[in-house]
């Protein structure tokens, strides 16, 4: 069942319960009040009549005209009255009762002998109810002379109650219907943004992540839902875009060596050729295989790092020993291209880290410095401490990086045009790995560079706390 229907039904049944209870209570109270009023009025009238008759003492009552002339106050009452003898026979009755025989009941007579009044209700066919009070008139409080009965028809009360009942039975369903309609409308209005969200979510589920929920949102529940939803889709879109970019870059980087291998191999196989030609192609293929193997290794490392599957063991590492070790390796690397690798300022520094990863980080930076240097260039490695930080810098005099590209070089697969022109080697993943290693050591990596002048890569790592 749709939420809108359910909301309306819940609301409707709650309202119906309230309305019906209210109506019943109201009806009952009203009816009782009206009856109480009648009883009160009967009692008062009877009391007046009793008082008047008792004050005059016993009088032979002949007929009502005689009575009314002697007791004008009795003529003023809007009710009928009868006066019975103690034997229960009617002596006098008021003119407005002539139509009916209303005998004194046995119970009223007994009560009168006890000197008390009695309220009764009687009913005659096809007539409204009658409410009667029978009160004794006594001499000095114990001798019963007469019994005065005052009565009134309940017709007007019954009419009033009947009208009231009809009013309630008509008005309550109408009020309920109007409220249900209003409830339906309001529920629809309140739920309209939910429908819009559903539609947008369906479009997004259909693959269009650029969709957003566009609606003027008040800072209410729906507004917050819309905002949360949009934020979530935004993050999803960003990560999807990142993954798509990454996959496309990775496939491009892998397709290039494949293209070379396929093309060169097919070409050399098209006809018989001298042996050197095959040799050249195989050597070239080997180079491409190495390149692909390296890309695959680095991609694997990065995707494992992304998943948090790369273990980093934090142990005390002496950075100055590491730097000196790397310097020895880099000197050999530089020799082929007459690039000098020198140590600048080196101070002792200990950090908590994974020595293998830190070695990879520094070796990558120094290799890059050698790779992108021009022959006869110089690469300088410095290690200093500043406060609680160890700062390692690798400076070269190589091709440099344009300012626009300086923040992009840590992105996966990004290589500047200059770097691509300078050397075909390099996967575009090395600095992304360096950046990841620095960050997992709670450090950071940055670059200062000028195009054509050279670059300085700086790694900052927190020093190990001194042993106490």
């Amino acid at each position: 069942m749709p939420l809108r229907v359910r909301l309306t039904l819940w609301y409707g049944s709650a309202l119906a319960t309230v309305l019906i209870t209210f109506s019943v209570v109201l009806y009952v109270i009203t009816a009782r009040n009206l009856r109480d009023d009648v009883d009160e009025s009967l009692k008062e009238t009877a009391a007046t009549a009793v008082r008047s008759l008792e004050e005059r003492g016993f009088l032979p009552l002949l007929d009502e005209e005689d009575l009314l002339s002697q007791f004008p106050e009795l003529a003023r009452i809007d009710k009928f009255f009868q006066i019975f003898s103690p034997s229960g026979t009617i002596t006098i009755r008021s003119p407005n009762i002539k139509r009916y025989e209303v005998p004194l009941s046995q119970k009223a007579l007994e009560t009168a002998f006890l000197g008390q009044s009695l309220l009764e209700t009687t009913k005659y066919p096809n007539e409204p109810q009658l409410r009667l009070i029978s009160a004794p008139i006594t001499y000095r409080g114990n001798f019963l002379y007469y019994i005065v009965q005052v009565g009134t028809s309940m017709e007007s009360i019954e009419d009033t109650l009947r009208h009231f009942f009809i009013l309630l039975t008509v008005a309550v369903p109408i009020a309920l219907a109007v409220s249900l309609a209003a409830g339906w409308f309001l529920a629809g209005r309140a739920l309209r943004p939910v429908d819009a969200i559903t539609l947008a979510a369906q479009r997004i589920a259909g693959g269009d992540l650029s969709q957003r929920l566009a609606m003027q949102t008040a800072p209410d529940e729906i507004g917050r839902l819309v905002e949360t939803f949009n934020n979530m889709i935004g993050r999803l879109e960003a990560s999807f875009r990142q993954i798509r970019q990454f996959t496309s870059d990775a496939s491009h980087e892998l397709r290039t060596p494949l293209t070379v291998m396929k093309g060169e191999t097919e070409l050399v196989l098209r006809r018989a050729r001298p042996l050197e030609d095959y040799h050249t192609v195989l050597e070239s293929n080997l180079e491409e295989i190495d390149r692909m193997a390296r890309i695959v290794d680095e991609l694997l490392f990065l995707s494992r790092a992304d998943m948090g599957a790369v273990k980093i063991e934090l142990l005390p590492v002496s950075l100055e020993e590491l730097v000196e070790d790397i310097h020895r390796q880099a000197t050999v690397l530089g020799q082929d291209r007459t690039i000098e690798v020198v140590l600048g300022t080196i101070v002792p520094a200990r950090v908590q880290g994974d020595e293998l990863r830190l070695r990879e980080l520094l070796l990558n930076l120094v290799e890059n410095a050698v790779k992108y240097s021009n022959p006869k260039g110089k690469v300088t490695i410095n290690l200093i401490t500043e406060g609680q930080q160890a700062i390692i810098s690798v400076t070269d005099q190589g091709i440099g990086i344009a300012p626009d590209n300086q923040h992009k070089i840590f992105n996966r697969f990004f290589r500047t045009v200059e770097a691509r022109t300078h050397t075909k080697k390099g996967t575009g993943l090395g600095l992304a790995i360096c950046s990841w290693i620095a960050e997992t050591h709670k450090g950071c990596i940055s670059v200062q560079s000028e195009l054509g002048q050279g670059s300085t890569f700086t790694v900052t790592l927190p020093l190990a706390p001194r042993p106490a």
């Binding site: 491009h252 290039t256 293209t259 070379v260 396929k262 093309g263 097919e266 070409l267 045009v417």
Partner: protein
């Protein structure tokens, strides 16, 4: 037929150039986008083979710029992306065909042949002048049904002449379409090759097809 290859991956560019040269095309290779575009403007190439990802100017930009200059040379784009939208964008920007890396050499050559055949009215890719027939697909040349064996350069020269029959072809025009940019136009190599062709096609026949237009160049015609 002279082809410009704009490809920044040196090895890819090299094997494409070599494969095309082995099919008698004259090939220029350029590794930079902007420079490649200048070359495309400066020389009247018969075909451009353009990689989409290039330094300094993307393949797509070259394509648009070339078409803006009203150069109708067929363009074959090379792309590493297999995504459909890249190919669609390329074709919409005026490319005539595309190849996704890695590709087969045979497919590359077949597509190049197909693109160069577009100017030829013969649907089967056969050029014919009188009883001289050149089959572009099989590279077979016959006269009066007799097979004529030609070297790569001779074939390239004959193809160019047969594509432009009854028109005066100057030596610079011939060198531009049959030889690549390393060719020295001041030598008489063209005259030498025209003579080779004459020996194989016209010698001993009453009806000569290759005519010398004094002071301007050569013309191939039947009458």
């Amino acid at each position: 037929m002279r082809v410009l290859v704009i490809e920044d991956e040196t090895k890819v560019g090299c094997f494409i150039k070599r494969a095309l040269e082995e099919e008698s095309y004259a090939v220029d290779l350029c590794e930079d986008g902007a420079k490649g575009f200048e070359m495309a403007l400066a020389t009247n190439y018969d075909l451009l083979v353009v990689d989409l990802m290039l330094p300094s100017m993307s393949g797509m930009d070259i394509l648009r710029a070339v078409r803006r200059e009203r150069i109708q040379t067929p363009v074959l784009i090379l792309t590493a992306q297999s995504q459909i939208d890249q190919r669609v964008k390329g074709l919409d920007a005026g490319a005539d065909d595309y190849l996704t890396k890695p590709f087969a050499i045979d497919e590359l050559l077949a597509r190049v042949r197909a693109l160069l055949r577009r100017g030829v009215t013969e649907s089967l890719g056969i050029l014919q002048v009188d009883d001289l027939v050149l089959n572009l697909a099989t590279r077979e040349v016959t006269r009066s049904g007799q097979r004529i064996d030609l070297t790569l350069k001779e074939y390239a020269l004959l193809e160019y002449l047969m594509r432009h029959t009854r028109r005066v072809l100057t030596r610079p025009m011939i060198s531009e379409h049959v030889w690549n940019q390393d060719f020295d136009t001041f030598t008489n190599v063209i005259d030498v090759y025209v003579n080779y062709l004459r020996n194989k096609i016209d010698r001993g026949r009453t009806k000569k097809l290759i005519h010398t237009i004094r002071g301007s160049g050569y013309m191939l015609k039947a009458d």
